[in-house]
Each structure stands twice: as structure tokens, then as C-alpha cells.
């Protein structure tokens, strides 16, 4: 095979253009950086052992924070990054904002969780675990490498629930090197498979550097979303924003949300005349004859008002309805379905 003529590239920084500050930081490596990464290849049995020691030290903690995201009709992976249960995953795993999913911990404990924001163009997403651990302890989590100092050739390891959750097996670990680096994609040669999506990629100190996204046809081609994509969009994702119009998640269209009831004008609101079978309204317990007074705080003084509010909402959006049934006031919460 012909070798590229270009200079060996293991010391090339992540981005093509970098300020001198970054170059300086390369010259003065941060304390604790993994020394074998400074070599193009391990040069001795000692280097090989150093890689092993780093893995043995880092994997146990990384493993307890690596979770399976059960979607019902399939599964992906994710990693907890805060003691209050915030999970980083891929957008094509979370698939939307405000969705209910189940997070499965390493020991098999299943916890309720809800998807937060996502970036549909880069395949980044956040999920919040909303159910406490049975022992009430903080969630196990890993540190994010916010220094963004990973570079081509760095040794890394992947974890993930390959092919789905398997308690007897546990999360599968794989070693690799960073073989390609671009703004919104890292490529490694540690093989991933279905079910790994959304799982974590770590540096040799056990800090999170990426989230598994997609693979090529050959075993050695595996893509990850760099953590920088997450940190750049962090606040927006925390606020449950659906970012971008990429193909990793389908943006719910406004006005396409489905409530599933028919109404007529009435005194003090609108009255339910029919509830669709298995509709979101039916699931939330809304019944024929209920008087709907307000929707998300807005007064429902006509059927047109309901329609105009719904026109601005999409599938997955949350509704709070104040209703009156048999003279009693109630609040009903539900999520719009897909039409």
C-alpha cells in the first residue's frame, strides 16, 4: 500500500486552525496527560503495560456510568455526566425532545428518564434521569474532558451496550486510537455495533471525549460526536431545544400535534363532545362532557382559540389543561401525539 507523503500527523491539533495559545499548550503538556500518547506508537513492553494500567484504572468507573437507553422498540447507550443524572447520548437515540425513555444502569436497575434537547445535525443529545436510585445515592458519573485537548493518534476506549443490555456481560469495552479528527466528528478504530449508539468514548484518563454515532462498512471505521459539540450547545440542550434540521432526529412540525377530541362552545370554556379512542386526550382521562377552561394558562373562550394554540404546538409538546368535571375543577397534563 502506498503511504501518504505528508508528515506524520500524530501531533497535529484537532482543528486545522488554532491560536498560538493552543500550540503552547502542546509544548507544555497538562499534568497527568497520558505519556504514551506522545509517541507515534508504543515502543516497548513498558508502553504496552502503561496503556493497560491506564485502562484498568479508568474502566471500572466509566462502566458504572455507562447506561443502556431502552426505547421500547430498540436500544442505544448513554453516559451519565452529573451526579443529578444528566445523560449524554446521540440524537438518533433520543429521537426527540421531552420523550419518556428508560435508562438501565449497569446493575440492571431501570430508571425513568426524559429526553432533553438535541442537535439533529451533529447527533448530540441530552437525557435527564428523573427517577432516583433505589438506595437514594447520587448517580455514578464521569468527568467530561472540557480541555478539548485530544489529538490524532491518542489512545482511547469505547464502552457501550452492544446489541442491547446484557447484565451477565455488562457494557463492552474496546480499545482504539483516534484515527481521524474533524470539527463535528471523531473517528476511531475501536469497533462499534448497533446498540452502542450514544455510548461513551474516553481518553486514557477516563474522561469523556465523545459519544458514539455511526459506523462505516469496515470494522475500523467508527464515528463519534466530540464533547465540544455538546458543550457548545449545552445551555440550549438543557432548555430542551431541538437544534438544527439535520437527519439524526426528525423535528416535530408545528400544528401536527394530535390531541384527539371534538368540542363545542360552552359557558366558561369549551365542552368536549367526543374523545378519540386511544388518543392522547383519552389516555389522559379526558371525558365527554368535560369543560375545558384553559390550555397552558390561556383562556379557552372559543374552539378557534384551542385550534390557534394547537397550531403553534407539535407532537411531544406538553399540555396542561384546566377542566371542570361534574362541578369540580381539575388540571390534566398530557403530551401531544403524532397525527
Amino acid at each position: 500500500m502506498r503511504k501518504p507523503k505528508s508528515k506524520p500527523s500524530s501531533s497535529v491539533p484537532i482543528r486545522a486552525i488554532r491560536g498560538s495559545l493552543f500550540l503552547f499548550s502542546l509544548l507544555a503538556p497538562i499534568a497527568g496527560a497520558f505519556p504514551v500518547n506522545e509517541k507515534k506508537a508504543p515502543e516497548s513492553p513498558g508502553d504496552i503495560k502503561a496503556i493497560q494500567s491506564a485502562l484498568l484504572a479508568a474502566i471500572p468507573k466509566a462502566q458504572t456510568a455507562t447506561v443502556c437507553i431502552d426505547l421500547g422498540d430498540g436500544s442505544g447507550s448513554g453516559v451519565i455526566v452529573s451526579e443529578d443524572g444528566l445523560v449524554m447520548t446521540a440524537a438518533h437515540v433520543s429521537t426527540g425532545v421531552g420523550k419518556d425513555v428508560t435508562v438501565i444502569m449497569a446493575d440492571g436497575t431501570k430508571l425513568k428518564a426524559e429526553t432533553r434537547g438535541l442537535d439533529s445535525e451533529t447527533d448530540a443529545a441530552l437525557i435527564q434521569i428523573i427517577e432516583k436510585l433505589p438506595d437514594g445515592k447520587p448517580y455514578p458519573f464521569v468527568e467530561i474532558n472540557k480541555l478539548d485537548d485530544t489529538k490524532l493518534g491518542d489512545w482511547v476506549f469505547s464502552l457501550g451496550h452492544s446489541g442491547g443490555f446484557d447484565k451477565a456481560r455488562g457494557a463492552v469495552s474496546r480499545i482504539g486510537r483516534l484515527v481521524r479528527v474533524a470539527n463535528t466528528t471523531l473517528q476511531t478504530d475501536g469497533a462499534l455495533i448497533g446498540g452502542d449508539s450514544g455510548g461513551p468514548l474516553f481518553d486514557m484518563e477516563g474522561r469523556l471525549i465523545g459519544i458514539h454515532s455511526r459506523v462505516g462498512a469496515v470494522v475500523g471505521v467508527n464515528m463519534h460526536v466530540p464533547v465540544k459539540v455538546f458543550t457548545d450547545n449545552w445551555e440550549r440542550m438543557l432548555k430542551s431545544e431541538f437544534i438544527g434540521e439535520g437527519q439524526f432526529a426528525e423535528k416535530p412540525e408545528k400544528g401536527k400535534g394530535f390531541l384527539g377530541l371534538a368540542t363545542k362552545s360552552a359557558e366558561g370554556g369549551i365542552e368536549v363532545t367526543k374523545v378519540g379512542k386511544k388518543s392522547p386526550a383519552a389516555k389522559a382521562g379526558i371525558k365527554e362532557g368535560d369543560l375545558l377552561r384553559t390550555l397552558n394558562g390561556e383562556k379557552l373562550d372559543s374552539r378557534e382559540k384551542l385550534q390557534s394554540i394547537l397550531a403553534e404546538l407539535a407532537a411531544g409538546d406538553k399540555l396542561a389543561l384546566e377542566i371542570t368535571r361534574d362541578g369540580k375543577d381539575e388540571t390534566v397534563k398530557l403530551k401531544l401525539g403524532k397525527r
Binding site: A41, I48, G74, G216, M223
Partner: protein, 341 residues
């Protein structure tokens, strides 16, 4: 290049992604320095020397079909049984030497292991590690590609907890049955199944299985659910009015009737038999399926296991050294006992 999303839940997105892959700048690590590259593997010299001497290459004619683990100086080796089964003439290469007409002395279907014998006197057997209790992240070294004279290595790490791999889809005889007035009648015998190998034929009527009389398919299913693939079961059947008894080796349903999953589609060349093992250790060295049967070494160059199945794109199984050692010693002892009878 085709790229696909990994979540089985988003199949529809799988191939759309091909268009979205960003154009990479020239920041690509040369092949030589990748995990499977020569420059990296050059650091595994001591282990390569063991692989050179103790990992055999098994041929069907000129075609490599498996690797083998040398377990004695006088020519015994272990390999993956289902790969050498039915091969007319097995040739073996150990180190630089070639050995013709290896004999399959014995097989253990539960573990899918065959004991081979070649005419040799001074082979270097593997040294067994004391145990296979290796945490995730421990290096393992196996036989990678090979030439006539040189074995090369591939390295990876222990990936998962040791465990049983149940037979995919449970244990089956490998026949399609019909409930008739006469009893359970064989409609079809599956290719490569234990039933076919035992000589079962269309029209045979099953009378008993494992000594139990059977008249319903459901009852057979219940009985087989308690059994393991790779084990033998006694079948009495009626053919042309005559009763006969056969030993039928149970197969894993998933190995006989492969339902190709999306993960299989992205897995390339995986082992045909990849389930129904009493216990395995797992690593991430993803050689071709023909690289099964060779030893799995630790950094000390000791065998911690023997590769038994490339399960998929991301997982390879090996028989742990505890059981491997037992198999090796047990089989050789049994052969010796038979020889002196």
C-alpha cells in the same frame, strides 16, 4: 462508503447518513499506526514469538480455514470443531513446518472443540495461564494474519465479563415435524443439522426422545428447552416399520436457521457457530472468522484461552483457560486410554 447509525431503533436513518458525513481534513492517522497497524503490533514481540511456535494454521487444501492451539510436543492441537468437520484432508502448519493429513481424533460438540493429531515430535505447546480472571482492559494477543512462514499478531483487550453464551434460539434437532395419526412425522431435515448427520430422514416417525414417548410438537419443545446445544440426545424412530435408535446432536436454532439481523449485516465475516458455549471470555480482536481456534495470550505470553467464535462486528469469544486446560487434558487422556485398550 456506507455508513450506518447504530441504534436498532432508527433503521430508517441507517443509510441516509452517508450523505451527511463531513469531509475530513487531512488529519488521518496512517494505517501503520492504527491499533491493528504494524508499528503498534511491533511492540508485541515476545507474544509474537509464542504465536509463531504455538499457533497452528489449519488448511483445507490451500485454503486457510482455522487456527489451532498446540497443546503437546508430540503433535496434539485443539481447534474449532465445526470448521474442520467434514473437511476431507486437513493440513497443518506449525511455525515454518508443514504437516500433512492431520487426524481429527476427537471432538467436544458442547465447546465446539476438536482434538487434532499431526506427526510431530518437538512442537512447543502453549503454557496455560493460571486463570482467566482478567478485568476489562487487560491486553490479549492472538494470531492475526499469517504467511507460509510467519505468524503475525493482533492485539486487543478483554471486553466483558466471562459468562455462558446460551444457544441462539435454544437447542433443536434440526427437523420439521408434523403431528400425524402415526405420531410425530419428519417432514424435512435441515441441512448441516444434528438430525441430518445422525441419518434422520423424511417420513421417519419419532417414538421417544431421551427415553420419553412423544406425540406432540409442543411437548418436544418443552423437553428440548431443558437441553443444551452440542449435547447428544437419544432418539428412537420408526422407519419402514422398523424401529431404530439414533444419537442426535442438538444444534442451536440460530446457527441452523440464521435470521440475519441488522447487526449481522454490519458484522462482516462472523463465525457460523457462535452460540451455545458453557462459558466464554470476550475480547475485541476482530479477526476474520478463520482466525478462530488459536490461542489467546496475555502479556506474559501465556494462554488465557482459545478463540472460539467471532460473534459479530464488536465481539469475539474465547474458551477460558480453566475449561480449555480441562478439555485438553481430558481429551488427550481419553485418547491414551483408548489406545492402550
Amino acid at each position: 462508503m456506507k455508513r450506518s447509525n447504530l441504534s436498532s431503533a432508527s433503521v430508517s436513518l441507517a443509510f441516509a447518513v452517508a450523505l451527511a458525513v463531513p469531509a475530513f481534513a487531512q488529519q488521518s492517522l496512517e494505517t501503520n499506526f492504527r491499533t491493528t497497524g504494524d508499528a503498534v503490533l511491533a511492540a508485541f514481540v515476545p507474544q509474537r514469538q509464542v504465536i509463531q511456535k504455538s499457533s497452528a494454521v489449519i488448511y483445507d487444501g490451500r485454503k486457510e480455514i482455522a487456527y489451532g492451539t498446540v497443546i503437546s510436543a508430540d503433535g496434539y492441537l485443539l481447534t474449532k470443531a465445526s470448521v474442520v468437520e467434514g473437511v476431507g484432508k486437513i493440513d497443518v502448519r506449525v511455525d515454518k513446518e508443514s504437516f500433512k493429513d492431520a487426524k481429527v481424533v476427537m471432538t467436544d460438540p458442547r465447546w465446539d472443540v476438536a482434538l487434532l493429531k499431526i506427526e510431530a515430535t518437538d512442537l512447543t505447546p502453549v503454557v496455560f495461564a493460571p486463570d482467566s480472571k482478567l478485568p476489562r482492559g487487560t491486553w490479549v494477543v492472538v494470531n492475526g494474519v499469517t504467511s507460509r512462514t510467519n505468524r503475525r499478531v493482533m492485539a486487543g483487550i478483554i471486553s466483558a465479563d466471562a459468562r455462558e453464551i446460551p444457544a441462539e434460539g435454544g437447542a433443536v434437532l434440526g427437523v420439521t415435524l408434523k403431528e400425524t395419526k402415526k405420531g410425530l412425522t419428519v417432514e424435512e431435515v435441515s441441512k448441516d443439522s444434528g438430525a441430518e448427520k445422525a441419518g434422520m430422514k423424511k417420513g421417519d416417525i419419532l417414538i421417544t426422545i431421551a427415553g420419553k414417548p412423544l406425540k406432540e410438537i409442543a411437548a418436544l419443545g418443552k423437553l428440548l428447552a431443558k437441553m443444551k446445544s452440542g449435547t447428544d440426545v437419544k432418539v428412537t424412530l420408526l422407519r419402514d416399520g422398523k424401529q431404530s435408535e439414533l444419537d442426535v446432536k442438538l444444534s442451536a436454532r440460530g446457527d441452523l436457521f440464521r435470521v440475519v439481523s441488522r447487526n449481522d449485516m454490519m458484522s462482516g465475516d462472523f463465525s457460523n457457530r457462535r452460540s451455545g458455549f458453557p462459558r466464554v471470555i470476550q475480547h475485541d480482536v476482530l479477526g476474520a472468522s478463520i482466525t478462530m481456534g488459536g490461542p489467546v495470550l496475555d502479556l506474559e505470553g501465556r494462554a488465557v484461552g482459545m478463540n472460539i467464535a467471532r460473534a459479530n462486528r464488536a465481539e469475539t469469544y474465547a474458551i477460558p483457560v480453566e475449561e480449555l486446560r480441562e478439555l485438553a487434558e481430558g481429551m488427550v487422556k481419553q485418547v491414551a486410554a483408548t489406545a492402550t485398550q
